[in-house]
Symmetry: C2
């Protein structure tokens, strides 16, 4: 690579891009950690994008109609931090850059959305940003359809590397984006032929342009160091009705001794080589030093969108007051006031009719009253719509010809669905929910974890939540998945017992602003256990006394979901023998743990024997409730699964695995001695 | 579709295929559950494959050189069961077919490899079979290179549907197969344009042929109901050096009223429609009835390979005795006798030198002595070779030009890697291990779960196992992943404290024949805590007393991995205060739980206070050890993580999150009151 030629061809551009490269080298050297090569390779693309195309106002990073910039190749975080600092972001200051990767700094090793307003999403686990971006682009289309292009009209730009494109989720993302014709989604592929293990070729020879074309994308191939080509490619991408992939041929660690090598991917900290690279850039400034004229030029880029933003504000003010309120409420993640009354009314009606139905079917009935009220929901399923019961009649299907549709047929793409949901939530204005079988939590895991880490309130509707799934067998029967989601920080796992608890769980899930929810719902029918109407949302306490002991209290049965009715049956058996038995329904262990000690003690007093009942492995938080919370090993038992399930009708499986009222009662008798 | 024309064009073929369709209809109707449409759509392809190409001997389903047939679209299990019954498999009898999806039957809802010898892998979670097949094909190439084509020379055939191809893992699988030029891998795509939610088009418009070509595959497009075209396509596929995808245009639920609809995907149980379909097939036989001439024709197919198998046995007998023994030992998953002595010697040497190094580096040193002895290993990493320390110098890289290479650069494909590993193990003759960062357990989860369910001893080398990963931050720091793997049935999770335990863990992992292992290894250096050499593999007990209390025993510290040395430091602090403290190292909770009560009580007696130390969430089995096993809530504490990590140097993070010897000692003092 002849840097001199590049410098001379576009000196102003070069200097701005060099600022990114120099800051990257300095920050990584100071941290003695990080990834230098990607920002150095993609600095030209990013500079042109920010200077010529990206619609943003650095002073207002939350401007709703800004273009979104997503660094899917999150290890190149210094590219993003450099851009934010240079353009004048108030949060990513030079001091933050100096403290790259240090405790308490906003400049974490990989970009974290909660560290600065201008960081759109958390990336680093490869492919996630790209898959989020599909959700961002869906959100834009959906909101544009609702509010009009005067207030919603922006692009989603993504930088993705070979790592992103090799991850399977990228295929789910790009085929979904292609089908949905998300024309305002523009992906830059950092085509540098290098991965950590060596030349890309040792592991991959995919023809990426052909692959993207097969998914319905426009593909533009350019020299990623040629500013004119970059600018033209973006212009062409913006004019397409298809999503666009711009393949940018670049040199990783451009200008450094490690250029075009896998070493260049990592932390380039050698002082001499660092100096030599800066010399090659013609960058004669000290560490972290950006000459004021360069900084000014960048700040001008940062304020370039200010007038556009102001014009937008004027246009927004012309919306009807109702529309403005709705827009702002949805962006603030505030549930509509009517939600509480709607849920209450449904609960009351349910208590009266006491239906026996699967909680997945209950969930559908709840959604039927929620979706007309909470109009910011966008639902969907990974090709299990009829099984997940996620579609209500009013939603309509989101397709190119119907951008007002609020239901997405995600296809058999659980991972891509979950990541797209996160993207919608991060975009703002949308509350996404999406369904699959609970066993396929596994497929969606990387994105479900990120929902928790990123603090976004995605709602994962996981049906067929136990061996109650029946004949499809152990591949489809979750046993460890409640444990998996419960072990994940900042995740609320609801396993409602009936339609009343299902309604309460939905109300809570839609009220969260910074936590995802998992709704674990049955395939099989369950009776109403909350026949006694209470206005209060009892599920909000996590666990509560569903039925008090009649005889002297000697046992407490704690159960969730479909096993709560078994607990009620076991209680009846035990009471008939004079063993007073309390039944505690525990729809959400995390909320129960958040209650104060007094409440928890009231629900789970010391003394009586305790038996937990859940058609899943005990690891899912049960020891805490059975042995902790004033419990004792000698007085505690568990009725559940100890291994994988089997293929048979559900009823037979519950018998086979000994998850029955009789077994629970027997366990109590054993413990009472 | 004009069935009469099809029937008349190839009457003998038609009748054989009709037997599959009729059995499918009958079995699904009897079970009132299952998926009829796929077997009905793909019966022609399967019939031609089995009749004309598949090398197998139904009487010897374990013949090592058989072709492998993998039904990736596992919901169409009746296709496989029909084929096995018809060709005379001893395990899949007519009685089994009649008991489709019933408790105790081998004919589970989705094919399960442990139910019958002829079922190569467990499928149903979509894309897994396809991704396994890459491992099968790698195993074939690797063994052919080692033993010669006279004893190893077979194909891997896969049937995949749109579901398989929409799952992200399919992209990882096909790009890996394309790069590795696995020419003996042949995939049939059931191109029927239907998914559960409706026409495929509502969710996907991918040009699959173009996509496969972009991954380096040969693509052949045919009418999936034309036997001559099918036969010719397979012949063409077999002659290619590239993997081949045969796009088979088919009609789901062919000949049934539900043909070409999403209803046809599911259980077709209507009696009248069933009869009408059979009429259309010209199939005038009762339920589960296959006329003897049809059965005989199929059985002839089943025994077609007998002479080839016998010839193979003669060729195998001509191998050197050493080669035969090695081949049989590896296929029987018996570790070589030398392994134990090799590990012992390494342990002895380690006890003498007492190195301080990361357990991932220790793992590399262990592999350096293992790989020359356990020659059936095939290692690899998802593009983190230098970080996972998975490559030893003797292995060589598996590539088209070096099929003897025993190391695979999987690329950034954690999921595809794990699934391919499972495929190698299932193929037989290979012990696969593969590495990534432990946080990316999430990406590999669907295949890791299946390893456990399928009972295959894949070894997942998960490095950077805590906040000790440092600056890369919370996206890359596992906190819940120990809990996730520990909650998974039939999975052994090892978190060794030092090089001695790492060696012991590897010895155990390589001795398992029916369980996968997860090795959780540190990024950061740890001291040798097992300086006192013991010949016995103490890790085999799961947990053991590493250091006995010196003063009167009042506390037990239980720790794993990098936190064992913290426990030793805490012990020193406490003993200095006269608080006698035992340290228990707990490298494998599952093995500890398998020890008898007497042993467990000896290690964890009632009485002393207990503090667990692990840089992860408490959910990972800790309550069982702290509150169970004779423990008590009032006398138990935990020092670990309660949420996600942060980006900073590792040492600072341990301080920041309070995972220190001081904190552990303080917790003990608090509990002692």
């Amino acid at each position: 690579m002849d840097l001199t030629e590049l410098r001379n061809a576009n000196p102003e551009h070069w200097t701005k891009a060099a600022a990114i490269r120099a800051l990257t080298l300095d920050a990584v050297a100071a941290a003695n950690s990080g990834h230098s090569g990607m920002p150095m390779g993609m600095a030209d693309v990013a500079t042109v994008l920010f200077e010529k195309h990206l619609k943003f106002d650095a002073a207002h990073p939350n401007w709703p109609d800004r273009d979104r910039f997503i660094l899917s190749a999150g290890h190149g975080s210094m590219l993003l931090y450099s851009l934010l600092y240079l353009t004048g972001d108030a949060q990513i200051t030079l001091d933050q850059i100096r403290n790259f990767r240090q405790l308490g700094a906003r400049t974490a090793g990989h970009p974290e959305n909660f560290m600065a307003d201008a960081i759109e999403t958390t990336t680093g686990p490869l492919g996630q940003g790209l898959a989020n971006s599909v959700g961002f682009a869906i959100a834009e289309e959906a909101q544009r359809a609702r509010y009009g292009r005067k207030v919603v009209d922006h692009h989603t730009y993504v930088i993705a590397g070979d790592g992103c494109l090799m991850e399977g989720v990228s295929q789910e993302a790009i085929t979904l984006a292609g089908r949905l014709e998300l024309g305002k989604l523009i992906v830059f592929w950092d085509n540098n032929d290098i991965t950590i293990d060596g030349p890309l070729d040792i592991a991959d020879r995919t023809d990426q342009p052909m692959r993207f074309k097969s998914a319905g994308w426009q593909v533009i191939e350019i020299d990623g160091h040629d500013p004119q080509a970059i600018e033209a490619a973006i212009a062409k991408a913006k004019s397409s009705k298809k999503p666009s992939m711009i393949a940018c041929k670049t040199h990783i660690a451009l200008g450094h001794a490690a250029q075009d090598t896998s070493k260049g991917h990592g932390a380039l900290t050698d002082a001499d080589q660092l100096r030599a690279a800066k010399d090659a850039y013609g960058w004669a400034h000290g560490p972290f030093e950006v000459p004021s004229e360069v900084k000014s030029a960048w700040e001008a880029i940062g304020s370039r969108g200010a007038s556009e933003r102001r014009a937008w504000e004027e246009r927004f003010a012309q919306l009807s007051e109702r529309k403005q309120t709705e827009f702002n409420r949805a962006h603030a993640l505030e549930p509509p006031k009517k939600l509480a009354a709607t849920i209450r009314a449904l609960k009351k009606q349910t208590a009266e009719t006491q239906p026996k139905l699967a909680t997945r079917a209950a969930s559908e009935k709840v959604l039927e009253v929620i979706n007309p009220v909470v109009t910011e929901t966008i639902g969907g399923s990974a090709d299990l719509t009829g099984s997940n019961n996620t579609k209500t009649p009013d939603l309509g299907v989101f397709l190119p010809e119907n951008r007002k549709g609020r239901y997405i047929h995600y296809g058999i793409r659980e991972h891509g669905m979950a990541a797209a949901m996160n993207g919608m939530a991060l975009h703002g204005g949308i509350r996404p929910y999406g369904g699959t079988f609970m066993a396929f939590t596994d497929y969606a895991r990387p994105a479900m974890r990120l929902a928790a880490l990123m603090k976004v309130p995605s709602v994962f509707v996981m049906t067929h939540d136990s061996i109650g799934l029946g004949e499809d067998g152990p591949t489809h029967q979750p046993v460890e998945h409640l444990a998996i989601s419960r072990a994940t920080p900042n995740t609320y796992v609801f396993r409602p017992a009936d339609m009343v608890e299902t309604a309460e769980a939905w109300e809570l899930a839609l009220s969260f602003r910074a936590s995802p929810s998992v709704l674990a719902l049955t395939r099989q029918g369950v009776p109403t256990v909350r026949g006694d109407h209470k206005t209060k949302n009892l599920t909000a306490q996590g666990g509560y006394v569903l039925a008090e002991a009649e005889a002297k209290r000697r046992a407490i049965l704690i159960a969730t979901g479909s096993e709560v009715s078994l607990a009620m049956e076991a209680k009846a058996l035990l009471e008939a023998e004079g063993i007073g038995t309390r039944v505690v329904s525990m729809p959400c262990m995390e909320l129960f743990a958040e209650q104060d000690e007094t409440y928890r003690r009231r629900v789970l007093p010391a003394g009586p024997v305790r038996v937990g009942i859940e058609a899943a492995v005990r690891d899912g938080g049960w020891d805490r409730l059975l042995l902790g919370e004033r419990g004792r090993e000698a007085k505690a038992g568990f009725v559940g699964m100890t291994g994988f399930g089997a293929s048979a009708p559900a009823g037979e499986l519950f018998e086979h695995f000994g998850i029955t009222a009789q077994a629970a009662a027997e366990r109590v008798r054993d413990l009472l001695g």
